[in-house]
Amino acid sequence: MFALIKREIQDHLVYFIAAAVFSALLVLVLVEAVFKYDSRNPPVISISLGVAFAAIVTLGICGMGASQMYLDKSRRISAFLSTLPVSRSRILLARITAGILAILILLVPLAITAIFLLRLFTPPIPLYSGMVWEIFTATFLLALACYCIGLQTGWNSSAITPSLGGLGLTCIFVPLVVVKGLGPEIMVILASFIAASLFRTWHNFSSTSL
């Protein structure tokens, strides 16, 4: 299993490097925004940069999933791996694990920075630590949902409808989170979507010809 995860990371190293770079940039933006925060004169540039980075990151995560599946299909990687003592479920599990690792590389430094900043600038009440945990979980689920859309789109890249459907779903999820906020309701919606999407990906991947 470790060899498969290592293979996925090495093959998509650019996404891991990009995740680390974007994470560092987002941390910088976050720190700058907090330190320069002025309720009468909010740091518009920092907030705009943060939103732009978040949009790029969302598309990047979606792109990673799509790239993993598309390259597998076009280079017939799983067809080769399946002749070795590896099951298709393991190949997919290793792929998803690599995807989750990339998301964590992106989000964990942000979460740590957020906790640190909250400790510095807010009174020590449980409300704030709970809030960070909630935001982190919901953001992680949102990123994972985008990644799942990417997996589906990459595997069905030859068909237009699923590809457009994937793009459409991404366009629905992000505004939904903006409107509803990163609360428990959105977590339930995202978790249900991720479960359904992963099941569908696993079913497609394990039942079609390689």
């Binding site: 280079r75 002749t83 099951s87």
Partner: protein, 301 residues
């Protein structure tokens, strides 16, 4: 314990409504080298892909080492070596990386044999797979398949695209390895001389059916091609069963008959032919007769 390493039962496969395999049944016993023959598009690769679980069958059941092909566990996969048609290795990898990956994923790895093969083939470890010639890719694929000491080796047209010298070198090494280690081998090819050199049992696929499934020697012995001259015009029907092919020209008739025996000889003699001579047949001749579009379905078993 079942002695059949490969078991195919009533295998049917449809592609876009077109029947590619129509009720294939065969078994490969332990230690046997089975040559699966067929013209291009006959379904050889489809059978192998179904056996390896890369393709779902429409109907029927296939087992490898007593495990169902559709859900081969990793333990069983680890006992099967495979050289695929076109050598579908990961093209973007360097040879050294591909070797490391295969080694990491394998359940067992014979370093001594693998290093010997790599040295013999002089494979460059620092080049990408896509930069290798087809011959080198074939050699790398065979080396990787052999390194796991497989109980079952599946070779799908391994010499496809190789020049005569590379093909000869590849086969000689394959034969050398096979003879030393007594494995079960399923060997698919449409290069009949290759199959004739190594196979001890033959299956011939034609029009989605397995028209021949028997030991090579038996096949050569039991399929006869006869030139029969009659005193007058040759009869339209000899009332013989299992005629694979029949050509009539005036007094002369050339027939290919399966399962030739004294009974069939006696029936032929009732027509009082002036002469009856046997035309020697190689495996290639038998294959051509069996896969002719006009050929009658033949069951040599």
């Amino acid at each position: 314990m079942n002695e059949n390493v490969i078991q195919v039962e009533n295998l049917v496969k449809y592609y876009d409504g077109r029947c590619v395999l129509d009720g294939i049944d065969f078994a490969v016993p332990r230690g046997c080298i089975y040559g699966l023959l067929g013209r291009n598009g006959a379904g050889k690769t489809t059978i192998i892909r179904i056996l390896l679980g890369l393709e779902p069958p429409t109907r029927g059941r296939t087992t490898l080492l007593e495990a169902d092909s559709t859900s081969l566990p990793a333990k069983i996969r680890g006992r099967i070596g495979c050289v695929a048609e076109g050598h579908n290795l990961i093209q973007s990898y360097k040879v050294s990386r591909l070797i490391r990956l295969c080694k990491d994923l394998s359940l067992q790895w014979n370093d001594e044999l693998f290093n010997r093969l790599i040295e013999t083939f002089r494979l460059p470890a620092d080049r990408r797979v896509r930069e290798l010639s087809i011959g080198m890719r074939a050699q790398l694929n065979l080396s990787l398949a052999m390194a796991i000491d497989p109980e079952l080796l599946i070779l799908d047209d391994p010499t496809l695209g190789l020049d005569t010298v590379a093909r000869r070198q590849f086969l000689e090494l394959a034969i050398d390895i096979i003879q030393k280690q007594g494995r079960t081998i399923l060997f698919c090819s449409h290069i009949l001389s290759d199959v004739e050199r190594i196979a001890d049992r033959i299956g011939i696929l034609a029009a989605g059916k397995l028209v021949v499934d028997c030991p090579l020697e038996q096949l050569k012995e039991r399929v006869r091609k006869l030139r029969v001259i009659f005193p007058e015009a040759a009869p339209a029907n000899l009332y013989l069963t299992e005629i694979v092919n029949q050509q009539i020209e005036g007094r002369e008739m050339v027939i290919t008959v399966a399962n030739w025996n004294s009974q069939k000889q006696a029936i032929l003699e009732t027509f009082k032919p002036s002469s009856c001579t046997e035309i020697p047949m190689s495996l290639e001749d038998i294959f051509i007769e069996c896969t002719r579009p006009s050929a009658e379905p033949l069951e040599v078993a």
